[in-house]
Structures are given as C-alpha cells and as structure tokens.
C-alpha cells in the first residue's frame, strides 16, 4: 500500500498522523484529568463527567457570541476569559452536585454510578431545551486559525498546538495541586482514612466537596478547549465517557502519570490504526486491546502493590 508514495511523502504522512495522535492525546488528557481527580483520588464514579465538560463548552460558546456582538475589540482574548468562566460554572455545578447527591453515596460506589447517570440524562435534556438539539460551534479568533508549516510538506494546525499547550499546562497545574500542595495532601489523607483525617482536624466534608468541584471545574476547562477543535452538542459528553474512564482505569486509577501515559498510548494506537483501518474498526481494536490488557492487569499500568 505504500508503493505509491515516496519516502518523503511517507515521512510526512507519518508525521501528520503522529500529530493528529498528539491532538487526540491532548483531548484525552484534558478529559481524563478531571476524572483522575474525582475517580482516581476520591474513588467516585461520575458518569456525568462528560456533561460537565459540555457545560464548559456551552459557556465558551455563549461568551464567543457575546464578545462577537458586544466586545469585538477583545475578541482575540475572549477564549481565556471563557476558560475561567467555564471552570467557575462547571466547578459551581460540581459543588452543588456533591452537596445534593454525591455525599450521600460515598459508601455505595455502584449507586453513585447510577445516580450520576441519571444526572447526565437530566443535564443533556436541559442542554437540549436551552441550546437546541443541533451541534453548535464557536468562532475561533483569527490568530488561532491556519497552520504552521514545519517543512514544505508537513503542516500543523495552530488550534491543535494551542490545545496541546493547554493540556500540558493544566496537567502541571493538577500535578502541583494534588501532589505538591498541602491541600492535595489533605485530599489524599481523606481518601485514605476518612476517620483519621477528620480526627487530625481536616474538614473532610469540605475537602470532598472542593475536590469534586475542582475535578468538575477541570472538566469544564477541557470542554472549553474542545470548542477550539470541534463542535458541541447536548449528547457529545456521552460519547466521551467510556473512553475517559478507560483512560483513567488503564493508567492505574490513582496515578496521574499513569493517566497521561495511558492517554498517550491509547491515542497513538488509535490514530495509527486509523491510517490502516476504517475509523470504527480502529476504535474497536483500540478498545478491545485496552479491555484485554485490563483483564490481564486489572490494576492498570501504574499501580502500587499494597499491604492489605
């Protein structure tokens, strides 16, 4: 199948395909980060995670319209404001959901799963009623359009680079927050021994709520970033949820590095296979491989061996 291409063209194809994989990788990382906090650190299954992302996307969409209509001068930077607003909106919804729903279910993880699924249905219907069933897209600022020619045959889209940069910086921020700050230490203390953490003066209730809120906030930012590379519909979140959970579980739920490594391997595998097979078969094979590996190594790629 490669006979028709010159070696230079082949190199270009692989480079482009690799870059497409890198964008997919960034998307996965962004999606998975919030979940890595909520599921990996707190052990809560949030099936509505995708809908929290979509909320961020819709916030971005609204702000894009707002700036276009009223503040066209500032349109170039609206996206940064939108990201902050997305974080706040999804985070606030997260705080509320934790208070109303999640905190009653910490001891019943399977029930959390069902309840948050119900939540996701409700949110989807609300989005559909408010924004309509059709997908919406945001207007991308001029500086983000176009692509950067690396060589005369390899070009990389700027919005892709932007999403990648975003993925890296949010990863670093989450890492610092969870593993280098005293707040992160509190979160991990609460997860490992709730009673003891309470006894040493940590407000476990507030820690839980804030952790959940921040996880949802990160999801909102991810959704905001998505608008740069694709459009948003009410059920878009559901499309991602299985992939996202697989990424986190595959990486070893409690390990941030694992999440990133697994996002990398899954995205690369998928985009490379997409070159050889049809899109759906590539997806099937990728998911099958992940499920197969999880059956052999259920603790994921990166997991500690612990004394029971």
């Amino acid at each position: 199948m490669f006979a028709d291409y010159s070696s230079q063209e082949l190199l270009a194809i692989f480079a482009m395909q690799g870059f497409a994989g890198l964008i997919l990788f960034s998307v996965f990382v962004l999606m998975a980060l919030g979940l890595a906090i909520i599921f990996g650190q707190m052990g809560v299954i949030n099936m509505a995670h995708g809908e929290f992302m979509i909320l961020g996307a819709y916030v971005t969409y609204m702000l894009s319209n707002f700036f276009e209509a009223y503040l066209p001068d500032l349109f170039g930077i609206y996206f940064f404001i939108a990201m902050i607003c997305a974080f706040i909106a999804s985070g606030a919804l997260g705080l509320f959901v934790e208070w109303a729903l999640i905190r009653h279910l910490y001891k019943r993880p399977l029930d959390t799963l069902l309840a948050t699924w119900g939540l996701s249905l409700i949110l989807q219907q609300i989005y559909r009623s408010v924004f309509g069933a059709r997908e919406v897209g945001v207007t991308i600022p001029d500086w983000m359009m176009g692509s950067l020619p690396l060589t005369d045959m390899i070009e990389v889209p700027i919005n892709g680079i932007f999403v990648m940069v975003l993925a890296v910086s949010i990863s670093i921020a989450v890492y610092l927050m969870m593993f280098r700050s005293s707040w992160g230490k509190q979160v991990r203390a609460v997860v490992q021994n709730r009673v003891m953490a309470g006894a040493v003066g940590i407000n476990t209730e507030w820690t839980d709520r804030l952790t959940f809120g921040i996880g949802c906030g990160v999801a909102g930012v991810a959704g905001s970033a998505f608008t740069m590379i694709g459009s948003t519909g009410p059920t878009a979140g559901q499309l991602y949820i299985v992939d996202t959970f697989l990424v986190v579980v595959f990486g070893g739920a409690a390990s941030l590095l694992g999440t990133i490594a697994s996002a990398f391997s899954i995205s690369q595998a998928q985009s490379i296979m997409e070159f050889f097979l049809s899109g759906s078969m590539a997806k099937v094979l990728t998911l099958l491989t992940v499920v197969g590996i999880l059956m052999i190594r259920p603790q994921g790629l990166f997991a500690l061996k612990l004394r029971k």
Binding site: A115, G118, L246, P298
Partner: protein, 380 residues
C-alpha cells in the same frame, strides 16, 4: 429448636407468583388490545434482563453495565435465522445476488458468510440463542473474576464491552445490517409472525418462558448457592476461606444472567420483528439496570414489575412529552438510588407486607397444624 424450613417457596412468595401469573396470563390479555398486548410482551422481554440483574447485582453484588450485549446476542441469533428464512431466492430475486439477506447485497457481498450458514437450522439457532451469550459471558467472567476485578471496575469494563459491540455491529454493516439492524423478518418456519394471532401466541410463549426463568431464579436463590452469593457480597474473603472458589460462583451467576437476557432478546426479536444495535449499547444496557433497580434489586418478582412500569412510563411519556421523559428517567435514577434503594419491592415490604402478614400467619396456622415444625419459621 429446629432450623428454619428450606422450602422452595414461602406461602407469601407463592401468592406473589400467582398474582403475577394472573396478571400476565389473564388480565393483560383480557384488557389490552392486540397492539398494546404486543407492546407489553416487548416490556416483558426486558423483565428477563432485569431478572438476571437481580441475581448478578442484587444477590451477587456484580453490576454489569453490558447486559444489552447478551440481550442483543440472543436477539441477533434469532434475527439471523428469521432473516435467512425471509431471504429465499424468490423473495430476493431482484438482488444482484439472490438468496442472501438484502443488506449484504447492498454492501456488495456476493456470498453468505460462513458463520451465517448454521443459522439455517432452527435447532442450531435455539441452542445458539442461549449458548453464544453464555460462552461470551463465561469468557468475560473467567477473565475478570479470576483476576478479582469487581465493583466499579467490572461495571466500567462491561460498559466498554457494550460500546465495542455497538461500534462493531454498526461498522460491519455488510455482515450485521449496520445501524438499521436486521429488519423485515416475516416467518418462523413458515408461520407468519406478523399477524395479530401470531403475536398473541408469542406473547403467551414469552410469558411461559419468563415464568420458567423466574422459577429457575427462585431455585438458584433458594439453594445454598443463593446463600453463598449473599455471603460473598458481604464478606468475599471469608467465603474464600470457607473453601469456595469465589470466581466460579460469580462466573456462574453472570452466565445465568446472560442466559436470561439472551432469551429475552430472542423473544424481543420474535415479537417486535427486528433487532438493531440500539438495544445493545451503553444507553439501553444501563436502562436495563434501572428496570431492575426500580423493581427492587433483591426481588425477582420486583424485576418483572420494574420492567413493566418503567417501560410503560417510557411509552406513555415519550408519546406525549418526549422532553419530559428524559428528565423523568434521570430523576428516576437519582430517586431510586437516594430515596428507594430497594425499589418497588421495598415499598411493598414497608407498607403492604405488614398489613397482609397477619393474614398469612392465620392461614398458615390453620393449614400447617399437622406440620408443627415449621410454625413460626421466618417467612422469608
């Protein structure tokens, strides 16, 4: 003091079974027109799935979010047989390759794939309806339970399997009929299944099979295996150190759940007349869990009522207020988890059972006066 009785059914359960039988075999056929009866027959096919979930999830603590896969495998096996019967060379003579299913022809297939061939045989199909999903469940079960994957991880992985299955079916449309599924099914061994009379008969066959499955589930729950499942849910380690291979038991109950779901799927195909990936994926699979949860995850009779109530509500609401239905379904998920974790069966236990119990006690002390050993034995 003698240990409690270990009968197949308590008197209360017998009455419960009898009431359900009356409802399904007498009342529904009397009050519903043929169209509605067929619809209720469709709801009842979901009761098979919910029943399997009572065993897996309620009794065994294993939540599978992939029951749609087994429902679908059973349904597709049956659909393949019916499709082959419908695709005689005369019926398909306008195709470029007559004698193969229409969707294969549309997708430029010129020959029936080898794995479709055995579905010319009805005997093979009936066996495959149960065996294919059970073997699939067995492979998943052995792989996961041997490695002690359980709880939420099992739920997520079964959900991923449901996703994979849907993508696969949709992607391979030349072999599976793709997103439309296998449609235009007409006859079962020459018997037209589209007439009202046939649908009526199928409804009763469906009810009979459901009762067979209910009895099987009751037997499993009543046996020592049922108690081991409960023990496993509470103290898995202890069961292991009482000398049981926990993985075997989980695999068994998962396979049993798959078999029930598959029978439901096959009956679905027969009664509704088609099978498509929209009954296989993530969304239908998790909805099947809610049938079980609404009925009461511990109650096998509750599973039937749960499937009936939720599906009836779905039809009613989505006919008149489609927007409300999704909100209602979402709220149902939340409510059943937060407020009614034991579902309808729990409501019955809390409000109705205390009122009817004195009645049963009276009945029992009359009829059991000879059999004094069992007097005072717990009703459960």
């Amino acid at each position: 003091m003698k240990p409690q009785s270990n009968r197949f059914m308590s008197m209360q359960e017998m009455v419960g079974f009898a009431i359900l039988a009356l409802l399904i075999f007498v009342i529904f056929p009397l009050i519903l027109d043929p169209f509605r009866l067929n619809l209720f027959g469709k709801y009842l096919t979901y009761a098979f799935v919910a029943l399997g979930l009572v065993l897996c999830w309620g009794a065994g603590g294993i939540l599978s979010l992939g029951q749609g896969v087994f429902f679908g495998l059973g349904g597709y096996c049956m659909a393949m047989f019916l499709k082959l019967e419908a695709s005689t060379p005369e019926n398909t003579k306008i195709q470029s390759t007559p004698g193969i299913p229409d969707f294969m022809d549309w997708n430029q297939l010129t020959e029936l794939p080898f794995w479709w061939q055995p579905f010319h045989s009805f005997t093979f199909t009936v066996i495959a309806v149960v065996l294919v999903p059970v073997i699939f469940a067995f492979i998943i079960g052995v792989a996961m339970f041997r490695r002690r994957v359980g709880g939420v991880y099992f739920a997520i992985i079964t959900q991923a399997i449901a996703a994979i299955m849907t993508i696969l079916i949709i992607g391979q449309q030349g072999y599976t009929g793709g997103v439309n599924g296998i449609t235009d099914l007409r006859t079962l061994m020459g018997w037209d299944i589209r007439t009202d009379e046939a649908k009526n008969i199928l409804y009763f066959v469906n009810g009979g099979l459901l009762f067979a499955c209910l009895f099987a589930a009751q037997y499993i729950r009543r046996s020592k295996l049922g108690r081991i499942l409960i023990a496993m849910r509470d103290q898995e380690d202890r069961v292991r150190f009482s000398g049981y291979d926990v993985a075997d038991f989980k695999t068994f109950v998962f396979c049993a759940g798959a078999a029930f779901a598959a029978i439901g799927g096959a009956m679905f195909t027969l009664q509704v007349g088609f099978m498509s990936p929209s009954f296989v994926g993530i969304v239908p699979s998790i909805e099947m869990v809610i049938f079980c949860a609404v009925g009461g995850r511990l109650s096998i009779l509750g599973a039937v009522y749960g499937a009936l109530v939720v599906n009836w509500a779905k039809t009613t609401f989505s006919e008149s207020f489609p927007e409300l239905w999704l909100l209602g379904l979402g709220a149902l998920f939340i409510a059943v988890v937060l407020a009614f974790p034991k579902g309808l069966a729990g409501l019955y236990d809390d409000f109705i059972a205390p009122r009817v119990k004195p009645l049963f006690d009276k009945l029992r002390s009359k009829s059991n006066s000879k059999d004094a050993d069992f007097v005072g034995a717990p009703a459960e």
